[in-house]
Amino acid sequence: MRTRLHVNGEAREVEHEPQETLLSLLRYRLGLTGSKEGCGEGECGACTVFVDGAPVVSCLVLAAQCEGAQVTTIEGLGRGHPDGLHPVQRAFIETGAVQCGFCIPGIIMAAADAIEREPDADRESLRRLVAGNLCRCTGYTKILDAIELARARARSGGPPCSTK
């Protein structure tokens, strides 16, 4: 079957099997391998992308259900930002918040959405907002440090976090 959708601002028309997930379409049909398949059951969040502006786990979304959708992946998150890096990506680099890195694309997507929707969230609330993402290195302290840094910058008039 064929699905037409926008991925990172580009119109795409993709041939795929009806049982393929959005994650599989992104990784294997479009070569966008930033989104990862961790659990494949919606528990780990490593495959988080935006569909029509909202973060979802792409391993539990059928590609066929994305007809006409606007999809943003980690590869497109920084579009329009200096050096192509979203403020959350920059904060992760500066904080050294990445260990093995497998969970990070999903966490950055979830965090970018959390900061935009709840710019006044404290650390506890930020924890809840990224509760759909697991880090198997258990490196949560620096991950939350980075998210707090990005949130503090966004609040003090830094670039807004909207690239959806």
């Binding site: 259900q65 959405d113 809840r128 509760a131």
Partner: protein, 320 residues
Amino acid sequence: MRSFAYLRAESFPAASAALETPESLPKAAGTDLLDLLKERVVEPAALVDLSRIERAQSDPGVLSALATLAELAEDEGIRRDFPALHAAARQAATPQIRNRGTLGGNLCQVSRCPYLRRAGASCFKRDGSPCGALLPGGFDRTHAIFDVGPCACAHPSSLAPALIALGARVRLVRGEERRVLALEELYAPPAPGRLGDVALRPGELVEAVLLEASPRSRNSVYLEMRERESFDFALVSVAAAVELREGRVRSVRVACGAVAPRPRRMREVEAALRGRPLDAESIAGAADAARVAARPLRSNGFKATILHRLCVRALEELRQ
């Protein structure tokens, strides 16, 4: 995952007609269904996509079955008039799944029982074979503590107990036919071939949930206990709605999730409260009534203790 035909429905009657063919299943967001497909627990010949169905005009008392959990959690009217529903929607799953998962899907989801969810394991609901949890040495820690028959599944929906406590009804659609049921009547006892425990006819779908705001619905609460603070299903959930008049309980509804194969109305708790002042003594008696009625399995007696504590906490919150 086995391949299937994919059909996009434009309306509930059209979806319903497409679902009359055997071996077809409905899919809204399908976050639960996709897991079951990947595990080959279900292998439908066709999936009927409900997600593009135009939603009827919004009426505050009519919630579309296609509303996402995130939409319910963010709705100010729900927060004000139905706080139990607000709390249940806000705590369900993860932010990503709440953005996708729907009200109808939450109500019709399949139990988390590991025997049911693993193709090849012994499961009464999948094929009539003995319930794995009830076999010698079976894992029954997260299973039911009420109404265990040939299946020991615990019902996973968190929205169902909240909505039952709120006195919700569901509107079902099959072709051009519609019928309305009390939500608790949507659920049926475990039966082979009926994974979702809902008494829907072939092709029938949940179209909407109907709610009426009242002093009782505004004084409602939902609490759940999970093994993990973040993403997890409830071990026990309790929802209660109480209307007080002159200090006494004029009307009350209490329902629990994850304690029985179906969401369970807690009539013994309600009976212990009706007509009495809502005070420490009546609350203790009501919570005891819940615990005494429970019939735990070998290794889940702790769920009866959690149920007791959650009943106390929930009712304390409603004292005003």
